[in-house]
């Protein structure tokens, strides 16, 4: 999938996700929840192949319903009785809806994190912290470099050990455990010894010679500036809406949520904000379609 939003400067992407996740976590206002749910779902659809989306829906929807019912059976606050349980406790509309709302929030969070994990790749994450925390980010980068290497290495060692009858795939539990520990131990020795060469290679390229700078392959262009300005404006709008009581909501005893102008203003800002990636991708698609027509 050719996602334009992922090609933006990582700072923009990271900022976006922080805000979206915060908003999702903080509000229980039903309309905001629905907006969050739908926009995270839209972006997910854009990023992931449809087979995965279907799989996701298949367990998200039942989970939402289950959590709704779960809350309804265990929380009995609220004034609109639906029916009574055999043990005499009432099942209320409010409790059910509250459960549903929290589940929707949970689902939206889950989907935002799916998007986050697809878009914020390791190099972007490291870049963000590379400037302020050069040692930590180098430590992470080194570890990330070592991981695939050690993994193949452990496979090689396992195979080699199997060849001399010391494999960890057969024998009794004790033998298998011991052989596994042996394999791991060989990997430790090998990793530590080859680390010496890595360290030499770092020294030889001047590590520690002075203050480290951080290389980036990302560019801060007009597009990023405009987007950030727009995001801040939308956030301001949202902030005003929150400040003037646009997102207040109460589930117990009866459901009361704000339905004023502030809410509408907040809703609009929130919708635009959380749909930003989809909008950007849509615009891109439109431009390409026209380019094709022109040529």
């Amino acid at each position: 999938m050719n996602d334009t939003f992922s090609k933006l400067h990582p700072a923009v992407t990271f900022f976006y996700f922080i805000i979206v996740l915060l908003m999702t976590m903080l509000t229980m206002h039903p309309i905001f929840l629905i907006i969050g749910f739908i926009s995270s779902f839209c972006y997910c659809c854009f990023l992931k192949p449809w087979q995965k989306i279907i799989k996701m829906i298949c367990w998200l929807i039942p989970m939402i319903l289950f959590l709704g019912c779960f809350n309804a059976f265990f929380s009995h606050a609220g004034i609109t009785m639906l029916f009574y349980l055999p043990n005499g406790n009432p099942v209320t509309m409010e409790a059910f809806l509250y459960g549903l709302a929290t589940a929707t929030m949970f689902a939206a969070m889950y989907m935002w994190f799916i998007c986050y994990n697809t878009v914020m790749t390791t190099d972007k994450f490291l870049y963000l912290f590379g400037k302020k925390l050069p040692s930590v980010s180098l430590l992470l980068s080194l570890s990330l470099r070592f991981i695939p290497r050690f993994r193949t290495r452990i496979c090689q060692i396992t195979q080699a050990q199997e060849q001399i009858g010391r494999g960890n795939r057969e024998g009794n539990l004790k033998k298998r455990l011991q052989c596994s520990a042996r394999i791991f131990s060989i990997a430790v020795t090998w990793a530590l010894e080859s680390g010496i060469i890595t360290a030499d290679s770092m020294k030889s390229r001047g590590y520690g010679a002075g203050k480290r700078t951080s290389f980036s392959v990302y560019h801060w262009e007009m597009r990023e500036k405009m987007l950030v300005t727009m995001m801040i404006l939308l956030l301001l709008g949202l902030g005003i809406a929150v400040g003037t009581g646009g997102i207040t909501v109460k589930y117990y005893p009866a459901i009361v949520f704000s339905q004023n102008g502030a809410m509408i203003c907040g809703c609009i800002c929130y919708t635009v904000f959380s749909l930003l990636p989809v909008i950007i991708n849509g615009k891109e698609a439109f431009v390409w379609k026209h380019l094709k027509l022109d040529t």
Binding site: I164, T198, F215
Partner: protein, 537 residues
Amino acid sequence: METFEIRHLNFRYPNGEKNALTDISMKIYTGQITLICGKSGSGKTTLLHRLKSCLAAKGMQSGEVLFSGMPLKQIPYAEQACRIGFVQQHPDDQLVTDKVFHELAFGLESLGYDQQKMRLRTAETASFFGISEWFRQDVESLSGGYKQLLNLASVVSMDPEVLILDEPTSQLDPVAATRFLAMIRKLNEELGLTIVLTEHRLEEVLGMADQLAILDEGNLIAFGETKKVIAQVNEESVLAMFPTSVRLFKAAGANGLPPLTINEGREWLKLQKIEQQTIQKEKCPPKGMPFLSLKECHFRYKKDGPEILDGLSIALRRGEIYGLVGANGSGKSTTLGVLSGIYQPYRGGIYLKGQKIKRLKSIKYGIAAVPQDPRCLFVGQTAEADLREMSVDESKLQKIIELLGIQSILKRHPYDLSGGEQQRLAIGKVLLANPSVLLLDEPTKGMDGEFKEVFGEILKKMTEHGISIFLVSHDIEFCASYADRCGLLFGGRIISENDTHLFFEENRFYTTATLRMCRGILPGIVNCEEAVKCIRK
């Protein structure tokens, strides 16, 4: 002008009994390629490490090293990092970060370059090396050869004046090695970089070296212009490392400047008057029932994947050495995997002593593989401990120690051994599991010429004990000298197979340097020893 001037350099490691380097004086001129050669353990690496302060091990040093006329010690760390580039032997271990672009920028980041300059340098370097396509890839997705090229590129991106390369191609396959050396040459010719390199595979580098230094046990036994140095040298043990053309030239007792390449060698050989000799065939390779064989095996890693083995048939007889050669991706490692029971072919038969078996279980059926990297086997603190954990049978242990000639290394840590010694120790461990078939994957990788001879003799001795050896190698010369039969693998099946001599005689390109040199002049000559005999007569 000299880039480096070494004056009477002596060096001894803290726990060393004798000097690792003794009274070395040499001048490395700007813009030249200086090749340092010598057996393993002759002090090549120690010498190279002396040329960059941050890599120089602690120890007693006397004499001095000047870099552009200044004592090396006085040049600050950051300046050395930038001006002296160093590439080591193992491609994998030198890479520091997880992305290609980050690796290219690593040195620049360390030195605190600004963003604009780093972008320019990395972009320039990537373009020069032709690696811009994978600028954003993970380093792990590259093959060993490209990893080493990336190591070189990330040093070159710091704009060094001199490149020091410590056996940079010893872990690479021939194609990657050629590509790497071509890049070295390009750097030298187009950017005027001074290059100091050590190598033990001299066929390709000798032709491009301006200066040659020969080290032996820490002594500089010859130094100067390449051809002149070779003309001076006469010691048999030193000559063993040189390519065929030089060895033949020396064997003929010729004077003057020696031929360095195959082409020059042919020119020279044509001028010689040699009587047609018939070479006596060596003892016939063992015939008889195959011990282990594959019949029309098909294998692929995934159901939808490409066919890796496509009707492979191969037979290994008792007590023979079989050499399997072929280019990268022809399925050599997979063949080994099938023979050792790691992979199961989805069609075709596996026969052990003539009986069809369903699935090979390596050690149960007496088949043992020595991994390409012997370090996969070492657990002990000493070589001896490592051998002992395989078997408690003292007499067997002694027999194997003697067979492999590893008495002298028993007390050392396995990781402190040289590549060849590690290989022998690994074989020792595997032999203690009593195999009747030994599978070897690139056993001569990283071994020097003299060591290979020792190693080949050990293999021959093992066959006398009835062990069959199956080796997969890029080292054609080694196969030609020691294998009884050879096969060429291409596209997952054996394209040609014959007794070694006949096998290499038939091949036009995929054959030994000696044969390529002697073709049409000395017919029927395959390896260097034969040619030497022929010429001596």
